[in-house]
Each structure stands twice: as C-alpha cells, then as structure tokens.
C-alpha cells in the first residue's frame, strides 16, 4: 500500500477510494512515502532527450541559463530545466513543438544578424546573448514587424515561461532537479511544517483579546 501511495504514483493512479478514516490514521505514513519519493526523484534525472537533438538542447540550455543564470547559486542549468522542457514538449506542452521548431532557427538568424561572425547563440558571450534576448523581449524591445522576429519573440516568451516553471516546480514533477530552484528562493523542501514558520512569529506571545470596549468604528 505504501509504495502505491508514493507521490510519483499520485500522477498516474486512478481514483481508488481511500477513506478519510484510513487517511487520518495513516497520513504520517503517506507523508513519509512522499518524502521517500522526493529522494527517489533526486537521483532520477533523465539522461536522454525525447524531443531535442543534442545540438538543439545545447542552445535551449544556453537560453535558459540567461533567463535564470548560474552564479554563486544554482540556475536553470543546475535545475535541469532543459530536461523539463524536453519532456514537456512530448507531454503537457506538446502544442508548443512548432514554436520551438520554428523559433530556434529564427533566434539563430537574429544572432547572425547582430553578430555576423557567430554561428549560434551558444557561441556568443553572455553579454551578446543578453543583447539578443533583450531584442526579443516585448517589454524591453521596440516592436519589429518582420514575421521572423515575431516567431523568435514568441519563442523567447515561451522559453522564458517554461524555464521559470521548470526551475520552481515541485521537484517531484520532473523539473527543479534536486530542488535547487526552491533552495535559491528559500523554499524548504518539505511538504509538512510546524510553527513558528519564520522570523516574525517566533516570538509571538499568544493571542491577546482586543480591547473589550471597542466600538464599531465608522470611517
């Protein structure tokens, strides 16, 4: 029963009836099973790409690494975002295949337009890469009317969303490898907490009633 309740299996299981009584007696065990699955997920980074060629994957990885860069703390690269996106494009984001297939060449065209000596995005310096990406970000770039740019813009828009999602999702869900995204933002890995939760509630003296004479104040 316990292994059937691992969080990973939650994804694929049907609606087998588990009674409330059973759960209340057993939820600590369920949480333990969930924690076990967390551990399992940590050691199961996918090794093969389903959708991307290795060359494409290197380009996506390079883009993701500018969206959430690695510095003194891990970034999209360490979170395995490219694997999350690769899996997504054959599952939950299957509708975005075309955006990637058409958008990546359009982005590479933009790279060559800006830097004629360069063949591809991944060969550019981080500063050059940011310059290209800023030109595709509809918030920081003036609108361009050629269709190629539109394709690259919507491609960057989608890669940005997928990268952020892949960086911050529950590590059980195929992204956020080893929970590094949560580590960066200060989200502890557990799914069960006890108060006090943080700085401001740790010295809370307990509830004190409001003054009994409080009148209904009308502003």
């Amino acid at each position: 029963m316990i292994q059937n309740l691992s969080r990973r299996n939650f994804l694929t299981r049907g609606s087998a009836a588990v009674s409330a009584v059973w759960l209340s007696g057993h939820w600590p065990a369920i949480v333990a099973a969930a924690e076990h699955a967390h551990q399992a997920a940590k050691s199961s980074a996918p090794l093969k790409f389903q959708f991307f060629t290795p060359e494409e994957a290197a380009e996506i990885d390079a883009i993701a690494a500018r969206i959430i860069p690695s510095d003194e703390t891990p970034g999209a690269r360490e979170a395995g975002v490219v694997y999350f996106i690769d899996r997504g494009l054959t599952t939950f984001a299957v509708d975005d295949q075309k955006t990637y297939r058409e958008g990546l060449p359009a982005l590479q065209a933009r790279v060559r337009e800006f830097f004629p000596s360069l063949e591809k995005f991944s060969a550019a310096t981080p500063e050059q890469q940011d310059q290209v990406l800023h030109s595709l970000d509809e918030r920081t770039a003036p609108a361009r009317r050629d269709s190629q740019s539109g394709g690259a813009s919507s491609f960057f828009h989608v890669v940005r969303i997928h990268t952020i999602v892949g960086f911050l999702i529950d590590p059980d869900s195929g992204g956020n490898h080893e929970g590094v995204g949560w580590k960066v933002i200060g989200r502890e890995p557990e799914h069960m907490f006890q108060p006090p939760f943080g700085y401001y509630d740790k010295d809370y003296a307990g509830w004190q009633p409001n003054p009994p004479s409080a009148e209904k104040t009308k502003a």
């Binding site: 969080r7 939650f10 994804l11 299981r13 609606s15 087998a16 009836a17 588990v18 009674s19 409330a20 009584v21 059973w22 759960l23 209340s24 939820w27 369920i30 949480v31 500018r66 969206i67 959430i68 860069p69 970034g75 939950f92 970000d137 918030r139 828009h157 969303i161 952020i164 999602v165 911050l168 999702i169 529950d170 059980d172 869900s173 960066v184 933002i185 200060g186 989200r187 502890e188 799914h191 069960m192 907490f193 108060p195 006090p196 939760f197 943080g198 700085y199 401001y200 509630d201 809370y204 509830w207 009633p209 409001n210 009994p212 409080a214 009148e215 209904k216 104040t217 009308k218 502003a219």
Partner: protein, 569 residues
C-alpha cells in the same frame, strides 16, 4: 471499511436528483439522504480522492486537474450587453466531486446582520438594484453553527468586536498564526483596528476521522492530501455516502432538466463519460451547480412553457451577478516570514465592514486579511497560469515589485530575496447587484458537447471600484505601520474574470424580480429547487462559501419539511 453504496437505475424515480456536488450540493446530499430520501448526485467532474492531490503546479493549475477545462468548456466575455463577446477564459470553478470547496482558500466568515438588510438600512444605490433578503441573519444563525460543527471550522468566538451574535463557540481553536498574521495584528493594533484569528474551514485538530492541517503550503488551488481542508469531498459527500441512500455519480454532465405537461420537472438529462445521454428520473430536482452553471442549466432547459429558460418567468435568471471586489497589496519585510508554509490566511479585520456612505462617498464595505497564497511559480511568473495556458502576454499577477526585470540575474536575485519576505494584504469587498452583469448563453460559441457556452457580461459598479481603491489605501497604512520595506498595490481595474459566482438566481418574495423563494423553491416550478452562490441577494463582503453552506443546511430543512407535508408532489 467498504461502504455499501447504492446504484440507482436512471428509470428508477428517486426522491431527489441533485445537480452538482460542491459546497451546497454536498450538504444537500448529506442532509436529504440522512433524512431518509433516495438521492442521486450528478457531478460533471471526476471522483478524485486525497491520493490524487499532488503539488504539481503544471498539472493542478496549468492543466486544470481540479477545475473547469477551457478547451472543453470555452467561455466568452464582454463588458456590456451591447457588445459582441470575445472568446476568453472568463471563470474558474472546481469541476470534480466536492466542487470549488476542494481547492478554495477556506476563509469562512459568517455574513453579518447588515448583509441581509442593506436596502432598508441604506436605501437605494443609483445604478444598482440592492434588495433585502427574505430571510435575516437570525434565520441563518443556527445553520452557520451547523456548518462550523458538522463541516469543521477553526476560529475564536468573540475575538472580533464586529462579529454577529452566535449561539455556540467554534468547535476548535484557530490555526497557528503565520508571520503575516503577526505583522498584521501588531500593525493593525497600532492603528486602533481590531484584528482577529481568521475563521478557516481547515482543521486545527484531528476531528471526525480527519487529520489536522500539516501546513504543507499548497492550499489555495490545491486539494488537501490529508483531508484537513473541510471540503464537501472530505466531509458532506462522505457522510451522504454513509447513509447508504445516496449515489454520487461522477462524470455526469447535466445539460437539461425535463418537464412534463403539468409543469413539474421529471428529472435531469446528462451526458456520461462516453457522451451518451441519460434521463435520471426524480420526484424533485435540486440544482447546486454554482452561480454560473445553475443559470446556464435553466437557460439550456427552455421549453414551450418557459421559452426564456426554465423557471425564468421573471427574466432575471443569470442576472445581478456579483463577483466580490478583491484588492491585493504586497509588502516586503526585512526578515524571512516564510509565509509559504501553512495555509493562506491567519488574521483578518472587519473594522471597515460597514462604512458610512456619507463619509466615504460610496456604498460598500469589506474585510482585510493577511495572507500568502501563491505557489513558487505563481510568485515568479506574471499572469500565471494564463501565460501557461495561452501564452498571453498580458497580466500583472507576479508578486515581484513592479518594474522588476522578468529574466536574468536581477530577476533571480529578486526571487531569492522576496519569496520568503513577502506577504499580501487582501481586501475583500462588496459587489453591488447590477442587472446587466450576468451569465448568459453565448449565441455562437459552443462547448465540446455542442452546447452554448457561458458568456460573462460584467462591468463593476463605480462604487465597487471606489471601495477597492479605498481599501488598498488602508492596506498601505497598515504596511506602513508594520514597517514594510516595500509596498505596492496591484492596479484597480474592471473585472474580466469570475471566481465568486453570486446572485444569478436570487432569492426573494416577489416572483417578478427573483427566481427562488425563501425555501429555495423556484417561484415557477413546484418541485424545482436551487441552492448555491446563485441564491445570494447581496454579495456580503467576500468569502461567500460559509453562507452558501449555511443556506444549504437551511434549504435542506425546508425541502424536507415541504416533502414530508406532501407539498412538492
């Protein structure tokens, strides 16, 4: 423990068919089956249980695991009835056994006495059709208490000086205070306001075979994996099944209520999972499908006798929709709150529940709460999950300060700094009932079954927007008093998206201006009852589910009494 669950044949005329299994439908099912009636609950969504409730934001929020599915159920929006509506995602509701109560925030205030008598106390409000309810707070008080004790609400009686009278304390103490709650409480008291522990439909202690909250941090938008959230799924639905007289039939999409030549409804027609249509026969029908789908079902059930929609001789089915305004003001503090831990809300205040229109220049009132209800992705990504679903570039729902870059090192540093240090002041407020605000059938757009889709028509009453702005100003005062390092409000703008679905088949004594009477019986059809958010006459100040559930307990009593007296057959 295996329950012996009944399976009724569609040709078997049961006592009641209940359409919908959410906040109202679950309680209706529990009460009517407990009272000895044979009940079939038809629920359009699946029957999921605790083991299905994952923390995967893509699956749960991005892919609508628990909610209505835009791809199957498209919707449209327009501001006024003269415009052609544009297809766009217009509402969200729980589409599974337990309905929206499965994934809601679980704020569980009672309405106050004023909410039932606003018209006679305040007088008319220009541009709105404000009316008194045919029942009062005193009529509903025993049923509020019933909700607290039977469904399970945590809270502290007497903590708010503005609370309406109550006959019993809460059955269990409040949930623990969060950092946001401590900050809110201290600052509010500095300002002379009266914060109190939030009443929440989440167990603070094990109760009735259910576990207490484990503070997992995935609450709003998620189902509770330990059954601590007092959803209909975790409570009333299971109690209904235990009677042995109630069948919950999931994946059953009701699209028509049939009527005979004597003007009585005979049952509900639904599509099963294979899209085969069936008529479940019943002596009476109770529609608890929510404030959007209940009026839609009546409009879809138009017949010779009711060409404008079943039980719609008044013409008000679908009208007077109220969504509750909701202002959000963010505050960032010096030290980590880690407010992602736990549930959403631990402190509320009701000092502004009854504002004086002469002084503030608008009608309405509301409550402020201290919360953090975003998941990590929702915190980081503006307009999540809209950007995921349709890659739309509009929206401003990120919780990062305005002007923060959307990618790159500065973005990452802002995430790293702010996620643990941010809290929200959420302002809940009145929506005035305006006739042209409505759910109707879109003339062109169809759902995956070929049925007319829901069209949302909505333009906030000007007073609602003024209230919203006024409350955001109070939120700023509070965050100033709290010493927030940064604070900002999300823009006040006209609503284009519906979460609270209220008032669309409103209750009243006059059959010309209301759809149901105080027994929740439609004025037009003797054996047709409606009970959910659509029944509300006014919007309260937000947080309607507690009142919807109290109404359901009361309606079930009324329906039982009428049936036992032979008055519905």
């Amino acid at each position: 423990m295996k329950l012996d669950l009944p399976k009724y044949k569609t040709s078997d005329e049961v006592d009641f068919v209940i359409v919908g299994s959410g906040a109202a439908g679950g309680i209706m099912a529990k009460e009517l089956s407990t009272n000895g009636f044979r009940v079939v609950v038809l629920e359009q969504g699946p029957y999921l249980t605790e083991s299905d409730f994952v923390h995967d934001e893509v699956r749960v929020i991005g892919e609508d695991l628990l909610t209505n599915k835009p791809r199957l159920q498209p919707t449209s929006f327009r501001k006024t009835p003269n415009e052609k509506a544009k297809p766009q995602r217009a509402l969200v509701y729980g589409r599974l056994v337990g309905g929206t109560s499965v994934h809601f925030t679980a704020n569980f205030w009672r309405f106050h006495e004023i909410d039932f008598v606003e018209r006679s106390k305040i007088g008319p409000v220009p541009g709105a059709d404000l009316r008194d309810w045919p029942i009062t707070y005193a009529d509903l008080e025993p049923y509020y208490t019933k909700v607290e004790w039977e469904i399970g609400v945590s809270g502290l009686a007497g903590a708010s000086p503005f609370d309406p009278p109550r006959s019993k304390p809460y059955p269990m103490p409040p949930l623990p205070v969060k950092g946001s709650g401590v900050i809110f409480e201290r600052a509010a008291r500095k300002l002379g306001w009266h914060p109190f522990p939030a009443p929440m439909a989440i167990l603070s202690q094990p109760r009735a075979g259910r576990g207490a909250c484990i503070n997992c941090g995935f609450c709003l938008s998620f189902g509770c994996e330990v059954g601590a959230k007092s959803s209909s799924l975790a409570t009333s639905i299971r109690m209904a099944e235990k009677t042995g007289r109630c069948e919950i039939r999931p994946n059953s999409y009701v699209h028509r209520i049939e009527m005979d030549n004597n003007g009585r409804v005979t049952g509900a027609v639904y599509f099963d999972e294979q899209r085969n249509a069936h008529l479940q026969k019943a002596k009476a029908v109770v529609v608890c499908a929510n404030g959007a789908e209940t009026p839609r079902l009546l409009l879809l059930s138009a017949n010779k006798q009711f060409p404008n929609g079943l039980a719609n001789s008044s013409g008000v089915v679908g009208k007077y929709l109220m969504l509750n305004s909701g202002g959000v003001t963010e505050g960032v503090f010096e030290h980590p709150l880690n407010d992602y831990k736990g549930f959403a809300v631990s402190r509320v205040l009701h000092d502004f529940y009854e504002l004086d229109p002469q002084k503030v220049g608008f009608y309405g009132g509301g409550g402020l709460d201290a919360r953090f209800d975003q998941t990590p992705i929702g915190f980081a990504l503006e307009n999540w999950p809209g950007v995921w679903k349709d890659h739309s570039t509009s929206g401003d729902r990120s919780q990062l300060p305005p002007g923060t870059p959307r990618w790159g090192k500065v973005f990452k540093d802002a995430l790293a700094h702010n996620f643990s240090r941010t809290m929200e002041i959420f302002a809940h407020g009145t929506s005035l009932p305006v006739e042209t605000n409505s759910f109707s059938l879109d003339p062109d757009l169809k759902d995956a079954w070929g049925l007319p889709a829901l069209c949302l028509t909505y333009k906030d009453h000007p007073d609602d927007l003024k209230l919203w702005t006024w409350q955001n100003q109070r939120a700023h005062e509070l965050l100033d008093a709290a010493g927030a390092q940064k604070k900002w409000s999300h823009p006040v703008k006209e609503s284009e998206f519906a979460v609270h679905l209220l008032g669309t088949c409103r209750m009243g004594n006059d059959p010309k201006t209301s759809v149901i009477n105080s027994d929740h019986r439609t004025h037009d059809v003797k054996n047709l009852f409606l009970c959910d958010g659509s029944s509300l006459v006014t919007s309260g100040r937000g947080q309607p589910t507690m009142t919807i559930e109290a109404l359901a307990f009361r309606a079930a009593d009324r329906i039982t009494a009428l049936t036992k007296r032979g008055e519905i057959t």
